[in-house]
C-alpha cells in the first residue's frame, strides 16, 4: 500500500523539516520502498504558503494526486484548508494546528480569515476525520515554540497513517536535528502523540 500525505504550513514553521523526517523514517523502515518528497517553497523566505508532499511505496513522482492524500498535516489552519480542498482523500485524515497565521491580505482587512469551525467542517466534508491540536501550547510545554512542527509530527504518528515504527522516527529526528535540541523535540513528539490520542478517544471524530 502506498502512503500519500501533505505537510502544509507557512514558511518558517518547520513543514519541510517534518516532511524530511517522515521520509527519512520511511526509508529506515523499508529500505526497498520508494520515497519522494515534493516541495513548493521559494519566493517568500518567510511567511509564504508551503506544502510538502510525502509519498512512500511504489511511487515515482514527487506529487500526490488530486484527492489522494491519506493525511494532511497542517501547521496552520488556512494552509490545511488550501491543501485539503485539493488533495484530501475521502478516506483521509486532516490534523490541524488551531493557531492561525494571518496572511497580510487579512491583516489589512482586504479579506476575512475563515473561522476554525468553517475550516474544520469543510475538511470534514471531504475526508474521514479532522483532528485539531493546540500545538503552539504543547510546543511551549515541551520547551520551545520552535518544536511546533514536531508536536504535529507526534500527532501524525499517532494517527497510524505513517508507515513506520516510533523507533524509526526517533532515529530520523536524531539524524536531522542538532543534538542539543533533540530532547525537547522528543518531548514535543510525545506531547503531540498524546494530544492526538486524547482528541480522538471517546468522542466520535469519525464521520459515519
Amino acid at each position: 500500500m502506498d502512503t500519500n500525505l501533505i505537510v502544509a504550513g507557512v514558511g518558517g514553521q518547520g513543514s519541510i523539516l517534518v516532511s524530511h523526517v517522515i521520509a527519512e523514517a520511511a526509508i529506515r523502515a523499508d529500505n526497498d520502498a520508494n520515497v519522494r518528497v515534493g516541495e513548493t517553497f521559494g519566493a517568500a523566505m518567510r511567511g509564504g504558503a508551503v506544502a510538502s508532499h510525502v509519498r512512500v511505496g511504489k511511487v515515482y513522482g514527487p506529487l500526490v494526486g488530486r484527492g489522494q492524500a491519506d493525511l494532511i498535516l497542517a501547521m496552520e489552519p488556512l494552509e490545511g484548508l488550501r491543501v485539503g480542498v485539493e488533495y484530501l482523500a475521502p478516506g483521509g485524515i486532516a490534523i490541524l494546528n488551531t493557531e492561525p497565521v494571518q496572511p497580510v491580505d487579512a491583516k489589512i482587512g482586504a479579506v476575512n480569515y475563515p473561522s476554525l469551525p468553517e475550516i474544520v467542517d469543510s475538511l470534514a466534508a471531504l475526508g474521514k476525520a479532522v483532528v485539531t491540536i493546540d500545538a503552539g501550547k504543547l510546543a511551549l510545554e515541551a520547551g520551545s515554540d520552535k518544536t511546533l512542527s514536531v508536536v504535529m509530527l507526534g500527532a501524525a504518528f499517532a494517527s497510524k497513517v505513517l508507515p513506520f515504527a516510533e523507533e524509526d522516527v526517533r532515529e530520523a529526528l536524531k539524524e536531522r536535528l542538532p543534538a542539543k535540541i533533540l530532547d525537547i523535540n522528543l518531548k514535543a513528539f510525545a506531547l503531540g502523540k498524546q494530544a492526538y490520542l486524547a482528541a480522538t478517544s471517546g468522542v466520535a471524530q469519525t464521520k459515519s
Binding site: 517553497f41 517568500a44 523566505m45 513522482g61 494526486g65 471531504l126 543534538a179
Partner: protein, 651 residues
C-alpha cells in the same frame, strides 16, 4: 547530524535533487565548482560548500553565470573535472561563452547543470533550456528522480571526457527541490593531474580563431555527435519496454517518465503499452526510437516544458516511420506546452489516447464549492525588511513630483515590490494606468523582467523622450555586481536622466542568503574584500551618488527626492542589512514596539508600509504589532502621524 551528502557509501538516504547532483559530482572526483545562486539550482553549490572541508575541491560563488561558466571551463581546459550550475535564466547570461566552448571542446570532464522551472514557481519565464543543448550541439541528460540525478551527474563527467565536450544536465524544480531515496556510491578523490597542452589532439585546440579556425572546429563538433548518439543508444538512462503487438507507445523524458509510469499503473495499462524512457535524450538515441516507432501505431510523447524531443522525434519519424501518429504538445496536442505536468495530467492524456476510462476525480463538485473559502496568502517582504523602508521612502519622494512616474524593478527579494496584494481586485483600465498607487509597497514596480534589466529599460524610456513623469530603476547589491555595471556606464556615458536606487542589504537573500562581493565573506565564510558600491558607481562615471541609511526615513526621502531633481543619472544607495541575518546573529526577545490604542486613530499609514508585523483590525479600526515577528526597526514609528507607536529605548 551529518552533512546529508557526505553520508556513508552504500547507505540509502533521503537527498534533495540538488544534493544528489552535488553527491554525484563528489563521487566523480570533482575538482572545481562555480555557480551564481538562482532558484531552484542554488542548493547544488550550497551542498558542495557544506562538504568542502571533507573533500579536496575548490568551490566559489561567482558574480554571475557567465563568469561561473568561464571559471568552470578554465578548470576543464587544464584537465580538472568541473561543475557549473545555474537556473534556467542564468543560462541566458552565460550564453555567449556557452555557445562557443563546444567548438574547441573540453579536456577534464565538464558538467553544466541547468535547473529549469516549469510552472514558473521561482522564475520570470518557463524557458526550456534543452533547446540550448541542442543549439550548442552538446549531449543533454535529464533525470527522472533523485537517484538518477546523482548517477547521471557522475556519469556525465565520464561522457564529457569521452566526447571532449561539456555535458548538459537539465533538471527541473520538481527534481532539484524534491527529495527522494538515493543509494550512495563511493566518494572519489580528485585526480589533480593538471596540465596545459595547447595542441591537445587538435591544433590550437582552445583558441577558436587559431588555425584552422572556427569552421574546422565546428566540423569537429559535428563529428562528435554520432559518437554521442551511439552512447545514447546504449545508455543505462534510456530503457525501452516493448510490448509486442501493442498499438500505443509512450515516450517520456526525465521527470515525465515518473509521471508516465504512475499513469500506466493508475490506468492498469501495464503490459498493454510500450514504454520508452529517455534520460540521455540529445543526440536522440535513434536506434531505440526506431524500435519503438516501428512496433506501434501511435505514440504519446511526454516531457516537461516545450516539445523539444517531440520535434526531434517527429522529424526522425518522417524518415523511418511516417505512418505512426504522434501525439504530444504541438500537432495532435493532448498536453499543454506551458505549466508543469503531474500524474493526473499524464494519466488523462494517456487515457484519452488509449481509449480507456479516466479515473474519476472524487468529490470534484464539493472541492470546487469549497475553493471559494480559501483566501490568498500574499507574498510579503519580511518584518522590518530594509526594502520596505526603501519603497516607503521612494513613494514619499515620488509624491512630491507631478506626473505618471515609471519605476523599473529587478530580480531579488525586492521584486515583491511588484507582486501586488493577491486578494485585491486588479482592474486594468486606462484610468488606473495613470494612477500612482500608494496603498502598499507591493504595488510599486511597473516593470520587472530579469537580472539587471531595469536600469537599461529606464534609459530607453527617458532617451525616447518620455517626460510625463520621473523614471526610476531599482536593483539590489548582488544584482548590482551581476548585471548592472555596463548599464550604469551606459547611463553615465549617454547622460540618461534617470534615478537608480541600489538596495544594499549585504547578502544575496532571495536564493538563501549567499554571500556576494558586498558581504565581505567568500563562499566558505572566509574574509573577502568588502566592495564599496558608492566608489564603484563614481568610478563608472556617475556624478550624483548618495549613500543613506534606509531606516532613517526623512534622510532617505530627502536623498531620493534630490536624486529625482538632478538632471542626469543619479544613484542613491539605501543601506540596511537583511533583517533575517541580523536576527540570526542577535537572538532577541519579544519586540519593544507597541501601539498606544488611545492615540491610534486608524489612519492605516503604518499598514501601508506593508510590514507583516503590523496587524490592523477593521472592526476596531486600530493597528497593533505582532511582538514575535517585529524587529524593532522603528520605521512604523517614524511614519505614524499620531505618534501612537511607542518605541522606547530604540535607536
Amino acid at each position: 547530524m551529518s552533512t546529508p551528502i557526505m553520508q556513508q557509501a552504500g547507505r540509502k538516504v533521503l537527498l534533495m535533487g540538488n544534493e544528489a547532483i552535488a553527491r554525484g559530482a563528489i563521487e566523480a572526483g570533482l575538482e572545481l565548482m562555480a555557480a551564481y545562486p538562482g532558484t531552484p539550482s542554488s542548493e547544488i553549490c550550497e551542498a558542495l560548500i557544506g562538504a568542502a572541508k571533507e573533500n579536496n575541491y575548490y568551490v566559489e560563488w561567482s558574480t554571475n553565470e557567465k563568469v561561473a561558466f568561464e571559471v568552470a571551463t578554465g578548470a576543464s581546459l587544464v584537465g580538472a573535472r568541473s561543475l557549473v550550475a545555474m537556473k534556467n535564466a542564468g543560462l541566458n547570461v552565460a550564453m555567449d561563452t556557452f555557445m562557443t566552448i563546444p567548438y574547441g571542446g573540453t579536456k577534464g570532464g565538464m558538467v553544466v547543470v541547468v535547473a529549469d522551472d516549469p510552472d514558473a514557481h521561482y522564475s520570470s519565464n518557463e524557458q526550456d533550456t534543452r533547446f540550448a543543448a541542442v543549439y550548442a550541439e552538446i549531449p543533454c541528460l535529464e533525470p527522472m528522480d533523485q537517484q538518477e540525478a546523482k548517477d547521471m551527474t557522475k556519469a556525465a563527467f565520464e561522457i564529457s571526457e569521452a566526447l571532449e565536450l561539456p555535458v548538459f544536465i537539465r533538471s527541473v524544480s520538481r527534481i532539484s527541490h524534491a527529495s527522494g531515496d538515493v543509494k550512495l556510491g563511493a566518494a572519489a578523490d580528485p585526480r589533480h593531474g593538471l596540465g596545459f597542452n595547447k595542441h591537445y589532439k587538435l591544433p590550437y585546440r582552445w583558441n577558436v580563431y587559431g588555425p584552422p579556425g572556427a569552421l574546422h572546429k565546428h566540423q569537429w563538433l559535428h563529428e562528435q555527435l554520432p559518437k554521442a548518439a551511439a552512447m545514447a543508444n546504449s545508455s543505462r538512462f534510456n530503457t525501452l519496454d516493448l510490448v509486442p503487438g501493442a498499438k500505443t507507445g509512450i515516450l517520456c523524458t526525465g521527470l515525465a517518465a515518473a509521471y508516465g509510469k504512475e499513469a500506466v499503473d493508475r490506468l492498469q495499462l501495464d503490459g498493454k503499452v510500450s514504454f520508452l524512457k529517455l534520460g540521455f535524450l540529445f543526440p536522440l538515441p535513434e536506434e531505440m526510437i526506431r524500435k519503438l516507432l516501428q512496433s506501434v501505431e501511435e505514440v504519446l510523447i511526454v516531457e516537461e516544458g516545450d516539445p523539444v524531443v517531440e520535434g526531434l522525434v517527429r522529424s526522425l519519424a518522417k524518415e523511418i516511420a511516417p505512418g505512426v501518429k504522434i501525439y504530444g504538445k504541438s500537432y495532435n496536442p493532448l498536453l499543454k506546452p506551458y505549466g508543469e505536468l503531474n500524474t493526473d495530467i499524464v494519466a488523462n492524456a494517456l487515457a484519452e489516447l488509449a481509449g480507456v476510462a479516466r479515473p474519476a476525480e472524487r468529490n470534484a463538485a464539493l472541492r470546487e464549492n469549497l475553493r471559494g473559502k480559501v483566501i490568498p496568502r500574499s507574498s510579503t517582504l519580511c518584518a522590518g525588511c530594509s526594502h520596505l523602508a526603501s519603497y516607503s521612502a521612494l513613494k514619499e519622494a515620488l509624491r512630491r513630483f507631478k506626473g505618471n512616474h515609471i519605476v523599473n524593478g529587478d530580480i531579488g527579494c525586492y521584486e515583491q515590490g511588484g507582486y501586488g496584494i493577491f486578494s485585491a481586485a486588479s482592474t486594468a483600465n486606462a484610468e488606473d494606468a495613470k494612477k500612482y498607487p500608494i496603498n502598499s509597497p507591493y504595488e510599486t514596480l511597473d516593470t520587472i523582467y530579469v537580472m539587471g534589466s531595469g536600469i537599461g529599460l529606464a534609459q530607453g524610456q527617458r532617451q525616447a523622450g518620455y517626460e510625463e513623469g520621473k523614471v526610476v530603476a531599482v536593483a539590489g547589491d548582488s544584482t548590482f555586481f551581476h548585471a548592472t555595471l555596463p548599464a550604469i556606464v551606459n547611463a553615465a556615458y549617454n547622460r540618461a536622466d534617470i534615478t537608480l536606487l541600489i538596495f544594499d542589504n549585504h547578502w544575496t537573500c532571495m536564493t538563501g542568503h549567499q554571500p556576494n562581493p558586498n558581504t565581505g565573506k567568500t563562499s566558505l565564510a572566509e574574509d573577502g574584500t568588502r566592495f564599496d558600491i558608492a566608489a564603484a558607481v563614481r568610478a563608472l562615471g556617475v556624478e550624483f551618488v548618495t549613500t543613506v541609511d534606509a531606516y532613517n526615513r526623512s534622510e532617505a526621502v530627502e536623498s531620493i527626492a534630490a536624486a529625482l531633481s538632478f538632471a542626469g543619472p543619479a544613484v542613491v544607495i539605501l543601506q540596511g542589512e537583511c533583517q533575517l541575518q541580523i536576527q540570526r546573529r542577535t537572538k532577541k526577545g519579544p519586540a519593544r514596539t507597541s501601539v498606544d490604542r488611545d492615540s491610534c486613530n486608524g489612519c492605516m499609514t503604518c499598514v501601508r508600509l506593508g510590514c507583516p508585523a503590523i496587524i490592523y483590525s477593521t472592526a476596531e479600526k486600530k493597528a497593533s504589532i505582532d511582538a514575535i515577528s517585529c524587529t524593532d526597526c522603528t520605521l512604523c514609528g517614524q511614519v505614524c502621524p499620531q505618534k501612537a507607536i511607542k518605541q522606547e529605548e530604540l535607536r
